[in-house]
Amino acid sequence: MKNVLIVEDEAITRLMYKGFVQKIIPQYRIYEAKNVLEGICLFFDKHPQLIILDIIMPGYSGKLILDILEEGIKHKIISYRPKIIVISAIDTVEELTALTNKFVVSSVMPKPLPFDTLAEILKLHLKI
């Protein structure tokens, strides 16, 4: 079974991403996390091939999951690499660059999300 994990605190935005993902890759099962802590647990439980990740969330930032995955992959504790698409309203260049430099991040997308671009990126990363 192929899985997608959506980590986003706003229910309405989650629903929007879900509908969109369903349309592009209907064969994937979708899991949703309302914060990064839940996202981390679902990542390890469901081993998604793709993660759509919001960065600015109440409590812990989405960066926590990136830190954990980088440590896990670097030290060979985690044996596979999911594709991670960061969707973020961050607009300072420094922060964006820092995110892009994280090796686990496949793409960084602005928020609000241009769906056409996301469709292209999904097709590219998932080779569909």
């Binding site: 839940e38 981390i40 647990c41 812990y60 830190d67 980088e70 440590e71 896990g72 504790i77």
Partner: protein, 131 residues
Amino acid sequence: MNKQKIRFLIVEDDEMIRLIHKDFLKDLYPESEIIEAENGAQGICHYFESHPNIILLDMMMPIMGGEAFLDILEEGHNSNILKDKPKIIVVTAIKDVKELMSIGKRFAVEAVISKPLVQNQLKSLLEDWIS
């Protein structure tokens, strides 16, 4: 808990302290498996990949501390993603009583022991759990 099947996870950034913990556990339970992590991020990966029974957790570490480690476990348990409940022993240099009390109340935390580690305390705790 059965002696042969015990899996310990040590989450501690100080290499020397990790070694001391490891030697101590190995002496007490030579047949156990001992996994080591240098920070909370590695620790959480090992936790999910290996499902240790007993975790020795430091609180102050680079990249990710013990607080976030406990928060992740708590959230996983509350949203029914986590099925097992490990026994966590927090080993910390924190001296503030209020802070220590609040750590003691966290999910899966069975004991809070001060650092430097009093090995007799740890030994008697473990002996209660492991037959």
